[in-house]
Amino acid sequence: MKNFDAIKHVRGESQFVDDILVPQGLLYGYVFYSTIAHGKIKKLDYSNALKIDGVIDVITAKDIPGENQIGGIIQDENLFAEETVHFVGHPIALVVAENQLQAHAGARAIECGFEKLPAIFDPREAFEKGEVIVPPRIFSLGDVNKAWKECDYIVEGKVESGGQEHLYLEVQGSFAYPTEGNGIKIISATQNPTAVQRTSARVLGIPMHKVEVDVVRLGGGFGGKEDQATAWAVMTALAAKKLNRPIKLILPRQEDIRLTGKRHSYSSDFKIGLKSSGKIISYEVTFYQNGGAAADLSPAILERTLFHTTNSYYIPNVRATGISCRTNLPSNTAFRGFGGPQAMFVMESAIYKAAQVMGVDPSFIQKKNLLKEGDEFPYGQKTKNCRAVRCYEEVESRYRISEIKKSIDEFNQTNRLYKKGVALMPVCFGISFTTTFLNQASALVHVYTDGSVSISTAAVEMGQGVNMKLHHIAAKMFSIDPKRVKIDTTNTSRVANTSPTAASKGADLNGYATIDACEIILKRLKKVAADELKKEDPSKIEIKNEIIFYDGNKTELIWQKLINAAYLKRVSLSAQAHHATPNIYFDREKSKGEPFAYHVYGTAIVEATLDCLRGTYTIDSVKVVHDFGESLFPIIDKGQAEGGIVQGIGWMTCEEVMHDKEGKLLTDALSTYKVPDIHFAPKDIQINFLEDVPNPYGPFKSKAIGEPPFMYGIGAFFAIMNAMRSFRPKMEIELKAPLTPERVLLSLYSEIPELTLQNK
């Protein structure tokens, strides 16, 4: 079966927000925002903006009929700043004009004066000054204090990981228009249509049923449109309501990067204790999360950091403290992995440094501590169907890791200016929203009289292939030609109270809901078929490739006739079903529970080559054995793995979010923020599906795939680090990502006294 979405994509026929035909009388918006990181607004004069040709209005907080509040978890974020701005890029007004150029000109004409206040950008400084978003959280297992005494080695260190810009190719955008009876319709590029609906209703002061949000598809999300698509959608709704005109707001790329949050940068301290055997006895870690100016999803992201503190290892004594710090940057937000990668980078760094101290290969420690069946995580859940060891051993044997290491040693001995390095990266990632109530979804299935089928769910298609997976599930459930099935837009009037499409859970939750809704219709159809065939037992009816079988025997009845018969018999051909993940819970007071439906496992081998003269490197290959369960659509799952890996490598290497001393983003364009291109991505990426691993907790035995492969990219950091140490064996190891060519070169040549650095 071909991917129906992909066919539209390659023809350029897929519609994104800015491609959809617009209603008459469309106006355009442009966001006017703060140019300082913290301060009081002393003057806001937009009279000159209104004089600009084509400018219709300037919308500010004063125009809000409801609440000026868009915070999700915590109500601490306004749509437009009123008295105080909290970061460079804090929206102050929306200029509305006949076209985009005029709206931009209008924004330039606004006169705004500030009185600066002290600003904080560093999470540790924020913590010292008491600027925390929520009280610190602690996850613990065993007793670390006692355990240190049992250790032969105790190693401490500091680890830094940088932010990451989502750089979805489609920028944030929305358009909205008024509908009859004080209503509003919003076409938004959001992963979270219900958040847009709920927040628009709150800001406009109208009930949710008057707000209809429709999402066709996103040109990439990666978490960046889970919480942060909302503001732009609400702005268009507000302006549309006030002016009674349709409004479109598409953020220009530079504004998109400046105004929206990133992956949280973290600064962390660790202490790890081991036996000489390599067994990790004790691990203590404190994570300082750079939350930005408002809570956004930071507390939930911090929580997932704590869940993934020990990555794929069993450690009997753990104490992990997470602190979400408030700084004067745009609120950092969800990004593929949702705090997990930051935790795993610290864990792997601790192992790496311990291995250096012990004089062993990090893989020696990794292997000694991999999770086994029944092992307990620091949050109390125990592993089930654990495949940590199997993936690790299978990737080692499939690619003959000892030979890889040997040939790298030979290369490094014979080359002076080029060095190679290799690293293994195991991953264990928990599947479910850790906020338990979000683990629900519903589906609405219609079968039309011509036999065609329409599916609406809570899932938003953003490239992860959820539409095609649902398409496949529905066609399989009814056993009909896939061409009869259409996955409809995600729409809050068709499917209500949706959870965001996030946490890798889109296909699981909505897949199950779709199965259930199809099942309801199937049950009715079987009864109709039995009646039509004058048979007794509907349970003996089966549909195979659109032909109706009874008791294993082919009949004359086919799908289309059956549907028509059902309609004439006045049997409902529509069904709605709701699915909630069973048996999960989490007690936030005790930080214990069974938050995950299951875990995903895998291991990667990452190889890199370093140019020791210039400080540049290539990531040569990534070889993976991954537990996909029984894949619903292998080419989609493979693509998710490949794409996640390259994004993870980007986070560890070339992607660097930089601010100046005033909190202004320096890397606000594709010319300064570099994501992997076709040549930077590894030449050789090999994804192997672990065999015979049905997952009892996923639709048709499948497993979630969106986030886990991202973390294989962490291996790139250590592969480069190994190459660097081959060149400079005594080099001091700085555990700081991204490992840009700058950091590499400065580390390799930290001791050249004759160098003239007077311009520093």
Binding site: N3, I7, K8, H9, V10, R11, G12, F16, D18, D19, L101, H166, L167, Y168, L169, E170, L218, G219, G220, P252, R253, R416, L417, M462, G463, Q464, L613, G615, T616, I635, I636, G639, E642, G643, G644, V646, Q647, C654, T667, A669, S671, T672, K674, V675, P676, D677, I678, H679, F680, A681, I685, P741, L745, Y749, L755, T756, L757, Q758, N759, K760
Partner: protein, 471 residues
């Protein structure tokens, strides 16, 4: 009024010539397959093909429609994804679907156009070049693995075929058959061309647009209503020739034309490879040597190379002419020794002598499609082991593209040795005044320049150097 063919449709329009082709395609023609991703030529989502009539044949090249003014397509054929689509998927499209080369789909039309353009612009096909044809396209979803598989798969359809023609591409359904009629249609269309918009002679007080690859990044909005003069097709400003023992390159010659010049390939065999580090293919198809020089960016790659060739600029205002060394052209940050009405007619430099060596080095955060943190070029002549002539440039380490005069003085008349090289690197780092910015800290840029000076010698004279002593 300009006339051109957009896909299979002849367009006559009075729209402002300064609007971008991207906006014309999307907003006026409502062809939404071409996407806006960054408006700075750094993502490729807006990639289109431009077909130009040359000797009654249509030559195509890819370009970023976000940086291309509408006025520059007068008399040409513009191809968007819609102009490639047929009833069934083309082999390129089908391979992308089957190999998982598309996920969210936003960047995808740009990839399809680039890869299809590769087949249209190359007679001999190979998978490595096919992959490289997408060096201007960014995908955030796939990790490029499926895209590479698709490129390899689509090239395999031409295995064994030495030359492919437009007919072959139409027969194999890579292109719709209307492509076969385009040459005839363009010949008719070009008769309508208004020469005063882009023709002979130099204009007064009009804004000159060459490739537009930097101008349209900086100020596309303010160019819309300007009176623009397009010099990209002015023949007098184009071409590469040898005159009086010098290689002369017209000011409006594109980087792609430089890359593919037999003259330059003869004297600088590595130049084609060096220029792979310059922007992307669609950028190189549009960016010109004159633009690179007057833009005066301290990190311009061509400028850097030309400085080390001790190039001379040939300036003209249409009436009088003047020559100046490139190294004397830059007076300060973006300040030039150039009168307002002067343009760069050509750049020239001496043909390399026997026993001469040239090397270009560039390091950026991402190797391809990135701006240098530091770049450096060196030209050097040896006689009996003695350096008898040398020019070295350094980019990204001063407000201007820098000519390292003191380093040159030091190296002249010396033997190549570890000590000399090491001292030269030291002197080079004392000639510079880097600032810390998104491309690196001043400390890094200083160290990097040292490394690149060493790299010149290590690459050119490995047998004369003990690497262990230097690094």
């Amino acid at each position: 009024m300009i006339n051109f063919i957009l896909n299979n449709k002849t367009i006559s329009t009075d729209s402002p010539l300064g609007i971008t082709l991207l906006d014309f395609i999307r907003k006026e023609e409502h062809l939404t397959g071409t996407k806006e991703g960054c408006r700075e030529g750094d993502c490729g989502a807006c990639t289109i093909l431009i077909g130009d009539l040359i000797d009654n044949k249509v030559k195509y090249k890819s370009a970023n429609s976000c940086l291309m003014p509408l006025g520059d397509v007068d008399g040409k054929h513009v191809v968007t994804i819609e102009g490639i689509n047929q009833d069934e998927l083309t082999p390129v499209q089908e391979a992308l679907v089957d190999e998982g080369g598309t996920q969210c789909g936003f960047c995808t039309p740009g990839f399809v156009v680039s890869l299809t353009g590769y087949f249209l612009t190359h007679e001999a096909i190979n998978p490595i070049e096919a992959i490289d044809s997408m060096n201007g396209n960014i995908c955030r979803c796939t990790g490029y693995a499926g895209i590479k598989r698709a490129a390899i798969k689509s090239t395999s359809l031409f295995n064994g075929l030495k030359r492919i023609s437009t007919e072959d591409l139409v027969n194999k359904k890579f292109l719709p058959d209307y492509f076969l009629e385009i040459p005839k249609r363009l010949i008719e269309l070009q008769k309508l061309r208004d020469k005063s918009k882009s023709g002979n002679g130099l204009p007064d007080k009009r804004v000159l647009v060459s490739g537009g690859t930097d101008l349209y990044v900086q100020k596309w909005e303010s160019l819309i209503d300007e009176d623009l003069f397009f010099i990209s097709d002015v023949n007098e400003l184009k071409g590469i020739s040898i005159e009086d023992n010098r290689i002369k390159i017209g000011g409006a010659t594109t980087v792609s034309e430089i890359e593919n010049s037999p003259i330059l390939q003869q004297y600088f065999p590595n130049l084609k490879n060096d220029l792979r580090l310059f922007g992307s293919i669609p950028i190189r198809n549009r960016a010109t040597i004159g633009g690179n020089i007057v833009n005066a960016s301290p990190i311009g790659d061509l400028t850097n190379i030309l400085l080390a060739l001790n190039s001379t600029l040939h300036l003209t205002n249409g009436k009088s002419k003047r020559e100046i060394f490139l190294k004397d052209f830059y007076k300060g940050y973006k300040t030039l020794d150039k009168l307002e009405d002067e343009i760069i007619a050509a750049v020239s430099f001496r043909i390399p002598r026997e026993n001469s060596f040239f090397n270009f080095e560039k390091v950026s955060k991402r190797t391809y499609l990135d701006i240098a943190s530091v770049n450096s070029s060196m030209y050097l002549e040896l006689s009996d082991g003695i350096i008898v002539e040398v020019h070295i440039s350094a980019g990204g380490v001063a407000p201007i593209p820098l000519y390292l005069a003191r380093t040159r003085e030091f190296l002249l008349n010396k033997n190549i040795s570890d000590e000399v090289i090491s001292d030269a690197a030291e002197i080079a780092t004392s000639e510079i005044s880097p600032i810390s910015d998104a491309r690196g800290s001043a400390e890094y840029k200083t160290l990097l320049l040292r490394q690149l000076i060493l790299a010149h010698f290590i690459k050119l004279f490995p047998e004369l150097i003990d690497i262990g002593e230097l690094v």
